[in-house]
Symmetry: C2
Subunit: 261 residues, 2 copies
């Protein structure tokens, strides 16, 4: 299970935190660290804080965007205080670990996404997540350090991994053996972009207006979890709508110029 979990740190500014994160991971049995556009280097401070987890630092992937970091993951969970605009599915660390165990048993990778020391994750980043996880803290002193948050999450992951009941390998998150694999984030995101483009093409969505409509649709599909056949069906529908819209555009021009079909 733990080999399927990816710890993603976004725009980290303090190299000591990267080191401490690696140390927490190694203690708990995790090994996959991804740094998204880090603002700190893997320097002496990082290596020193990692104690004997240097290997995790050296194996860490460095990518330019969050979308790249999570592309191959079937479940993406972001750490969050509260969703700022529209409500987003929220779990506590133990529930998150249970969901991660299930996703892993089904061959999916799980990304746990952690934000900037100063400001956490942006709203757009939070909306790329299927769900959010909130680590319970005292309300008026909510200042968990990112490496401490990673420590808590890795601990819960370890507990779930070592106490994993004999999960029936064929059982999906929906309680039965499913007939198609879960789409990974890249495939799901591709479907959502296709949906958005189709909505723009038919004039339903104005690309310049606030994006709540698209966020709500994203949230709906992400909380459902979408399998690969469902992605294909949905994209087939979108393509059919776009084809029709093109034909309509051609017809309109033909009518205006007096050309026949």
């Amino acid at each position: 299970m733990l080999d399927n979990i990816v710890i993603v740190m976004v725009n980290t500014t303090h190299s000591g935190n990267i080191g401490a994160a690696a140390r927490a991971m190694k203690n708990m049995g995790l090994s996959q660290l991804v740094l998204v556009d880090p603002k700190a280097a893997i320097d002496e401070e990082a290596i020193q804080r990692s104690s004997r987890a240097e290997d995790i630092l050296h194996q860490a992937r460095i990518v330019a965007s969050l979308e790249e970091a999570i592309a191959d993951c079937g479940l993406v969970v972001g750490t969050s205080a509260r969703s700022r605009y529209i409500p987003w599915p929220l779990m506590n660390p133990r529930e998150c670990a249970a969901k991660a165990a299930m996703a892993s048993a089904n061959g999916n990778k799980i990304a746990l996404v952690f934000g900037r020391e100063s400001s956490g994750l942006t709203n757009d980043e939070l909306h790329l997540c299927h769900a959010h996880v909130h680590i319970p803290t005292v309300e008026d002193f909510s200042s968990l350090n990112v490496a401490q948050a990673i420590q808590v999450m890795c601990y819960e992951m370890r507990l779930a991994a070592i106490s994993e009941p004999a999960l029936q390998q064929e059982e999906s998150a929906w309680g039965v053996e499913w007939d198609y694999e879960l789409a990974n984030h890249e495939q799901l995101n591709g479907m959502l972009h296709h949906l958005e483009q189709t909505m723009v093409d038919i004039g339903f969505l104005d690309p310049n207006t606030p994006k709540q409509t698209m966020s709500r649709l994203r949230r709906l599909f992400q909380r459902a979890g979408v399998d690969k056949m469902e992605v294909n069906i949905l994209r087939g529908i979108f393509s059919a709508v776009q084809r029709q819209q093109k034909v309509q555009g051609v017809q309109q021009d033909a009518v205006k110029t007096g050309d026949s079909d």
Copy 2:
């Protein structure tokens, strides 16, 4: 909680089972019974088997279709051995009771749907359900009587109701206070019929071919749970597509006849 749970019996042939179901319900604190096109009357046998639960029999609603029975319910669960064609979300009775408790805490009605003595529920009826519940039985002697099944489910509902932890009233099934109410079955079903009609209008779906595509889409939205704003957004998209398809049809005719716009 128990006042929000509706026991739905479809095409029951033995009046004694209806009586026994009422008795099980009353013992466990439930009161809402709906009979869908019953093949048995509420006769002496039913009254005798109900012991002192005659009031539940007399208050029972009798409707012609399952869709009528569940129209105002936010969560619909069908009893099933196994889904026969495509996998459908499946729970055990205890998980079902927990979900029912959550749905009830959020002001939704919950329908528990039970099928014919001889053959259970049809595939179409099973597909109207958000999820199915399977009562664990010995594999080679799987012949639970419908009233016994109702007894087991009502028992689990009662356990959940009396041991209900202080559910934060504002918390939805997704772990946070949601901003729109869950759509009831009539609204969700209306959205799905609108989707189907739109897919037919654009030529993506042939109304005469096997219905797996539509079942898969139904399953996706039902397992997500859809709120009222999401229903509105989706129906707005479908309407926009349908309007465009109509315009295209008009343009095509105009081009063929040589009429201008």
